[in-house]
Symmetry: C2
Subunit: 639 residues, 2 copies
């Protein structure tokens, strides 16, 4: 194995694509795959490998388009309203049903409603008819040899009908591109095994396999290969034996994996690219072993999914003669300043919502390990190379991951995130399938600022003001002086100290935490405001609290830190402690409100939300949760 | 069986939907179906039956986010560029790879690039690090008990990854709605049988089955039931025994089918609706047998497909907790005046093209039997009840059947349709997957008028002017006086008389057709202009030609009429005669040109088309067709 260090070359995306294309061309693997014949009822979504011509005209004979009587139009020439003509039934006029072939010597059909029959078997006709009236002429729809469908056409339900209608029982479609997926990484275990500490669940093969199927290909995933060059080499050989159109080597996140992949490709074939200037997704590898292309996919799930979207799915489509999928795009205003690395094509997951008639894009977490940022994303913003980023308030193009109508019925909640907002989202969804709640956690004060900037429909807030002994009102006056709002109570929640199981430090009141490692919440969080107030009440100074500077962003984050032994205690919700199997020392009940600008209040979205919030079902389920009371849920707080 | 005549009630669409909903509600069948557990790699496209919560945090331990050394941040407090600190390797600093669990008593990772190692096993550090630097905290992505996916969410590739990542190997999804399809009609045969005269191929079950699968359901189709109430009754009973969620009875086009369906439903259950005020699609039937809904689907394929789209697919989606699919819509200007029946919701298939920066919609054939109108349609325009129609030039909303980008790369050809335009379309498609040619047959003069009105990108024309003995030029001057155009030759074609096999009338020159039944082309067709010129040359008056008034719209239409014995001969292309296995008497070669307005000439679409037209491959294949010469193909005709 050569020791050249070509790792992370920073090849621009377009150049990497071009290199692979050139290698495929040289290998005779660039064009669409050959055809195979499939039965029509298996052909939905497949792509025609050749133009399809009618084998049969449709209809393949002149036929009646109505129920009635077939006649020769010429025989009716003299018929008038006032002077009926009569034709012998069974001879000059013959009964036909819709679809029946036109009898010989007839060329028109008279509707059953427009004639009368005499007792002696004659038909009375009161108006002359034109030739071919109410007749479907042979070939009206399709004529033998006519091109019915073009090549490289993805078959839809009506296409299948048309093919059958012109005499086909099968259709030649492009063979499905076959992809062999090889997951690698000594730390990985399959999804049906519970991972130990130090082990991670391998799920990139699931994402990529599904992306490939969605693009029309077939994927088979082999066993996970540990961190061993020999293991990878033999997995590659096994994959090559099955003659796939493409091999994907998925790298685990552990060091070494990338080098194994690049090394194995160099050893068995040609390494084309090692590192693409795309964020996230950098350590992509491209190579050829013989005439088989290999793509090394980065281990971080967001990078892996984007590699699938940007590089792999388009290849699968091209092999079927399809151009890359073109998602709908929209223009949206960024709610944040976005700084982009100048040398990279930067792809940002964003949440979208329509607020005051404009689409607003809020970037989601950047980390390539955070797959929830892809799950939650409404779209993908592309900041091209040589661009420094996007200013707050600047418009950018976003490719949609959801339909625009779904995005337009999204309710954007910013501010403090209560876990029970997810319960509300579930009830809202069951109430009205299209409505979604997206909750972006910025802390209570962050939510009020987001409302002021017009970035959210409503904000979650639980800010206690000791001066007035009230929640939220004085903060709204301070942060939203010019925005008339309605305050609607979401829930009463129990706050207290989250403690390790069994409360090993024997904490029984807040002053017991002096000297222990405390896990704090971020600045602007209502729980931090509450904690500061409690410290104040008990005459404790913040510098007496070890870990006051350790900031977590959610209740569950605090609980996780306590569970993991990073801290000895932290302030948070009873529900968070119980969810993680921790002890809890209740200190107080607080009110969590929804802050709704009055101009948003009358929209159908907000009305639906309030209807669900005030429904007996929701209130019952909310009140049954440990650490929650719902008796004031839905009530308007008077200012 | 009661004899009430409730056939064709004209129930408005919304009312019909509401009646079915009410009946489903009463039967306890309205809400989404219950869940079933499926493996993640089978779950793509399925819909969650409950919110999914994380079973495991992701990552489920604090881990290194980089390759390097894990340290306690506090130990590095005094490190400076100019004053390195040293830590003992294996004790205060430990080598970690990305993804490794953070060793005890460490809380940060220093990248391998930022340290130096001494010979005695110590690490030199040149800058202090913050706690949790390059560490992925436990739960950074997902925290146990957190809601990862909402209920009624259709699973995408990344969702499957997220589910696996938080500890799920399976997911509860809505059971697939099951539909039993019963085709009825004595005249129908399955697609794998060649139909006799009087028989039609049954393909509506293919269309509806595919629509149902596309919407997420499962469809099983039973054998075709003939025109017999007893047969239908037993097919219904058999379907009911399998306990489907929905039964569809597809009626053939023959009379009586509808009554059988309605009759059988009345006999076994309740008939809710018989006839909906929708065009096309009128004779829709809705009923309930016990708690099972039955929909009777009209026999004409366009009506059947629209019934599937408007009534059935939304039901299949609703049973999975999904709202109806919402196709993208665009605003397009109608190129025709459209008259709509005032009492009906009118659905029109339209072809779309972007011309001079505006989307233009051209209505396709209305006939409910013409399935090609659905195959060719780019979109569906809905003209609601109580609207009389749309004026030419008026804007209307169109739901898209293709992506907007595909429509924008469509080249709209109007005018004379040469069958070899399909060959050009094939070559263009192979050259550039996204480009499509749509050819609307209006005859040569119709094409020039369409160009004048800005309805097409180019026109096909083969108009001979005896006065100047030239093609097209004088007609362009007449019909397009203010539109500078370029004339590009498409092909030379052989025109002549299409004759029955064996030429039973012994026709050897044009004057032989006197007294025979001639099949003519429509007014404005180049072939008719040519025929008139030939008659003139031979001193034949049009009234001497029987059938001069019988107009067909295409060469293949003329050939079909001759093949079927409707006429004894007709003028048309050699290729059309040979395609239908007919005899042909060649009379002349003519030039078929493409008329391209100069302002369209420089667009990338037209440039791609001309490149393909002039390619050696295309010219070779065109020239090899019987009745075609391609030596002038692609040449510009000088005015």
């Amino acid at each position: 194995m050569s020791k050249r260090h070509i790792y992370l070359e920073d090849v621009p995306l377009d150049e990497a694509r071009a290199k692979l294309q050139a290698a495929l061309l040289a290998a005779g693997r660039l064009g669409p795959l050959p055809g195979e014949s499939v039965l029509l009822d298996r052909a939905l979504g497949r792509v025609t490998a050749a133009p399809v011509r009618a084998k049969l005209s449709s209809p393949h004979y002149h036929c009646a388009a109505m129920d009635g009587y077939a006649v020769a139009a010429a025989d009716t020439r003299d018929a008038r309203e006032t002077q009926a003509i009569s034709l012998r039934l069974g001879r000059e006029a013959q009964a036909v049903n819709t679809g029946d072939p036109l009898p010989e010597n007839t060329d028109a059909v008279i509707m059953i409603e427009h004639v009368n029959q005499t007792d002696d078997g004659r038909l009375l006709i009161y108006a002359s008819v034109a030739p071919w009236q109410h007749v479907r002429l042979m070939g009206e729809d399709m004529v033998t040899t006519e091109t019915v469908l073009q090549v490289n056409h993805q078959l839809r339900p009506v296409d299948l009908g048309a093919l059958a209608g012109c005499g086909h029982a099968t259709v030649m479609v492009r063979r499905k591109p076959r992809v062999a997926i090889i997951p690698t990484g000594g730390e990985l275990v399959p999804p049906d095994r519970r991972p130990e500490r130090g082990q991670l669940i391998e799920f990139n093969s699931l994402i990529l396999g599904a992306q490939i199927r969605e693009a029309g290909g077939e994927a088979t995933t082999s066993e996970i290969v540990g961190d061993s060059l020999a293991g990878l080499r033999s997995a590659l050989q096994e994959a090559l034996d099955a003659a796939p159109d493409l091999i994907l080597v998925l790298s685990g996140s552990s060091a070494g994996s990338h080098d194994f992949t690049a090394g194995a490709i160099e050893e068995l074939g040609d390494l084309l690219v090692h590192g693409i200037a795309v964020r996230p997704g950098h350590p992509v590898i491209m190579g050829m072993i013989g005439t088989t292309p290999i793509i090394g996919v980065p281990g971080y799930p967001v990078s892996a999914a984007l590699t699938g979207e940007l590089l792999i799915a388009p290849l699968i489509r091209a092999w079927q003669g399809l151009s890359p999928a073109e998602p709908a795009t929209v223009e949206a205003v960024s709610t944040r300043k976005i700084v982009s690395p100048i040398g990279d094509d930067d792809f940002l997951r964003v949440a979208l919502a329509e607020i005051d008639g404009r689409l607003r894009a809020t970037p989601l977490q950047r980390g390539a390990g955070v797959i929830t940022s892809l799950v939650q994303a409404d779209g993908l913003a592309h900041i091209p190379r040589f661009h420094e980023g996007v200013d707050r308030g600047e418009a950018m193009r976003v490719s949609l991951y959801r339909s625009l109508s779904q995005i337009k019925s999204t309710i954007m909640v910013m501010g403090s995130h209560d876990p029970m907002l997810d319960l509300l989202a579930t009830h809202l969804r069951l109430f009205s399938a299209a409505r979604r709640i997206v909750s972006v956690n910025l802390g209570s004060i962050g939510g009020l600022i987001a409302l002021r900037r017009g970035e959210a429909h409503l904000a979650g807030s639980h800010l206690f003001d000791p001066a007035t002994a009230s929640y939220n009102l004085s903060f709204i006056r301070k942060y939203l002086p010019n925005e008339p709002c309605q305050l609607v109570t979401f829930a009463q929640r129990e706050q207290g100290l989250i403690l390790p199981p069994g409360n090993p430090r024997g904490i029984s009141e807040i002053s017991d935490i002096r000297g222990l490692r405390y896990v704090n919440r971020q600045r602007g969080a209502g729980t931090r405001v509450l904690f500061d107030h409690l410290l104040d009440q008990h005459g404790i100074a913040s510098h007496e609290i070890t870990g006051y500077a350790h900031e977590e962003y959610t209740h569950l984050g605090v609980a996780a830190a306590v569970a993991d032994g990073i801290g000895d205690c932290g302030m948070g919700l009873r529900s968070a402690a119980e969810a993680m199997g921790l002890d809890f020392l209740g200190l107080t009940w607080e009110r969590f409100d929804l802050v709704i600008p009055r101009r948003a209040l009358e929209t159908t979205s907000l009305q639906a939300l309030l209807t669900v919030l005030r429904s007996a079902d929701f209130k019952r389920e909310l009140g049954a949760q440990s650490g929650y009371r719902s008796d004031e849920t839905g009530q308007v707080v008077e200012a």
